[in-house]
Symmetry: C2
Subunit: 440 residues, 2 copies
């Protein structure tokens, strides 16, 4: 869903600017050319990637066509949704009505954060490759034909998801539902096609962080009446149970009423009782006297919170280690840029300070020493480690000494890194002060 792919005719018909956004690219071209009604929102929708004109942030635009914005209270609703900032929810940034698309009728555009490199839960776990087993090994008797009792009860449940993965989804979904319900908002879009998962299963880089996308659209299109919010929340919880059931039996039909018994048997056979209890608890509609709450899933998750926390710590530590490595290259990049700025400036080519007797001539020789190392037979030596080590010692002003040779091999200068560093600082400061003093 989030693959940026533009067919030429669509791009040609694209307005240059929509609201405060430019550089629109339709996402998922298969959908852009066909009038397509979203199953979740019952209107024709098109998704774009676009850039905000002032902040330059890349955003995800969801355009709802042919629908009037109900003016009643929609401002309050938008503001309430914009305040929701949660690690598992794609944040709503803005909603506006626009005629910028050359249409008969205005479109409503919902602006969200853009998340690169994601796919939907539907695509991740229910695409063609993971589809159901064929024939009698399929646990679901979809065609309704007579089958032997043992059909679909094979013990090879290799297609099922690993239980820890399902619990990771449970923790994250319950977390986002909890946050929304605490803010008196309902998701109303807990469907496989609305939940994004990190990474890309095709390239084998599937990760398990999820985000709920498209929040607030139903609320704004239909308008919420205060009385219905509790019903929507109860529906969320049922959707939650249904989602987990679909994931656990790895089948979309598994959550249909007529297959419920079979699905629960699969769950019971393959997973811990906690998972079955969780699914049953939320799937069965509650009576109005005692409404369910998302908090009831916490005892069932239990110690799995710790596993989730541990994996998050590990992720953070890996990122921090990588960052520590890369921060060095940022520093060295700035250093080398400054060095290049100082060296070989044409306006100084006749300057005394840069002549062969000058103080800062050594910087030029040092540059040769770093980058132009040659072997015994004059062959160039290309060694990144040498470059990095030299620059690091140079940056730190080490007291190590090196031997620099002039190009005509007539002069040899022995100099410490700290002297080089001082010479460099002087030269660069002089360059910086040029404007102030008016002369080099």
């Amino acid at each position: 869903m989030l693959t940026a792919s533009a067919s030429l005719d669509v791009v040609a018909a694209m307005p240059e600017r929509v609201g405060d956004y430019y550089d629109l690219v339709p996402l998922d071209s298969s959908q852009a050319n066909v009038p397509h009604k979203s199953r979740t929102f019952r209107y024709q929708t098109i998704s774009y990637k676009a850039t905000h004109i002032r902040t330059n942030t890349v955003c995800y635009l969801k355009r709802i066509m042919g629908c009037k914005l109900p003016t009643v209270r929609s401002y309050d609703i938008v503001e309430a949704w914009k305040k929701i900032n949660h690690a598992n929810i794609v944040q709503l940034r803005e909603v506006f009505l626009t005629n910028d698309f050359d249409d008969d009728q205005p479109s409503i555009v919902f602006v969200y954060d853009y998340l690169p490199c994601c796919e939907t839960l539907q695509k991740r776990h229910f695409s063609a490759n993971n589809s159901l087993l064929k024939g009698w090994s399929n646990p679901y008797n979809i065609s309704g034909e007579d089958r032997p009792f043992s059909a679909g009860k094979g013990t090879s449940q290799s297609g099922l998801l690993a239980e820890p993965l399902i619990w990771e989804y449970v923790v994250q979904m319950s977390s986002l539902i909890r946050t929304l319900h605490a803010a008196s908002l309902a998701c109303r879009c807990l469907h496989l096609s609305r939940i994004l998962v990190d990474g890309d299963s095709k390239t084998g880089r599937a990760k398990s962080r999820i985000w709920l996308s498209g929040v607030g659209i139903s609320d704004i299109l239909e308008g919420t009446i205060q009385g219905t919010i509790h019903q929507h929340m109860q529906n969320d919880l049922q959707d939650f149970g249904r989602l987990i059931l679909m994931l656990a039996c790895n089948s979309i039909v598994g959550a249909q009423k007529e297959h419920l018994q079979t699905s629960l048997e699969i769950v019971q056979r393959s997973y811990t009782p906690d998972l079955k209890n969780l699914i049953l608890h939320f799937l069965v509609p509650s009576n109005t006297m005692k409404p369910r709450s998302i908090n009831e899933c916490m005892p069932m998750i239990g110690a799995r919170f710790y596993a989730h926390i541990d994996s998050l710590h590990v992720r953070g530590d890996i990122l921090e280690n990588e960052l520590a490595k890369e921060l060095d290259s940022g520093r060295l990049f700035r250093l080398i840029c400054k060095l290049n700025t100082v060296l070989e400036r044409p306006e100084y080519s006749m300057n005394q300070a840069w002549s062969e007797t000058g103080d800062r001539y050594i910087l030029k020789l040092f540059r040769d020493f770093i980058f132009h190392a040659i072997g015994f037979e004059g062959e160039p030596i290309l060694d990144m480690a040498h470059i990095v080590q030299c620059l690091n010692k140079f940056d730190a002003g080490s007291h190590d000494k090196i031997c620099l040779t002039s190009r005509d091999e007539q002069n040899v200068i022995i100099v410490s890194y700290s002297e080089l560093h001082q010479a460099f600082e002087r030269a660069f400061t002089e360059l910086m002060n040029y404007g102030a003093t008016g002369a080099s």
Copy 2:
């Protein structure tokens, strides 16, 4: 405790190499010169930072002086501890007996991961600045004098820690205790001085990630007998309760028996009932019939797991964003190094290909264009954004065209970034192949 600070005489007396480690620096010099018996381990200990001779990893060495290694089963114990890999435990890497320190008797050295920029919980929350209120406003009647009933019952509890912070500690400590107890190991060192906290409170960069340090030392020095492990685990849980109480009433004396009543009153006044229940649950010794388990803290933590998970997600996302920015500088650094390697090589100064009519002469002009921009009055323009933009377009081989001027201003060349990129690739490949072909 983890500040690397070496006084000269200590360094002079330091062996060059201990076991597989070199470059030893004593940590916390105030401790290194004074014979100092660790309260936790009852032996004189010195801490060092050192580098492993083969892997070059920086490690934390804890040297236990004047103690014989009990040979019984210690190998098994060390192996069990080395397997413990947890986000809140400083991992034990190795234990060895050595005579490399010039001592009368051998020392036992425990090697751990080295964590930079940490301080102990003791230093973070119980150093002089945060000390108890003076006189009657001190809730604890330490001198035992007669005091009015209202003494220490002031409502200004400004010195107390924020409750969410305490719960963050609770989640992490319970997580590490759980992991150890599940592996049939006991911490035996849950003390303020053994728990490290991320960041530095002095510079205002206090973070809340904790690590338990010094694990396994008690087990190895004293040897565990299988029967005592359960008692040690129960002690861990009591230590846990005591630690949280000290943190909650922000006082070390607060956990002493005679002050318990006062401390619990402070907790009750200032925090939610959950926290008081948690402290009481673990602080009160259990009877042997029904031993406590760390899992019992989970219902009391409850929804605070979600808060912790959310903050970890936020941390990960921030790091990922920073990493995304820095990865670019790594790429640009490598690019600029390659460019510098190709340019201004003395051996090519007479080469036809680099002459003013040569194909690759444009690279030299491009370098001038990137780094030697000058304004209308000849003043140097130092603009990092210009450098980064040029290099990015150059790296990507953009079709944008730029106008390069020769130094004598006689020639103007209009060239696209992609042509420059191709010229650069050719030049660099030639340099790389020098050894293979034997000629430039």
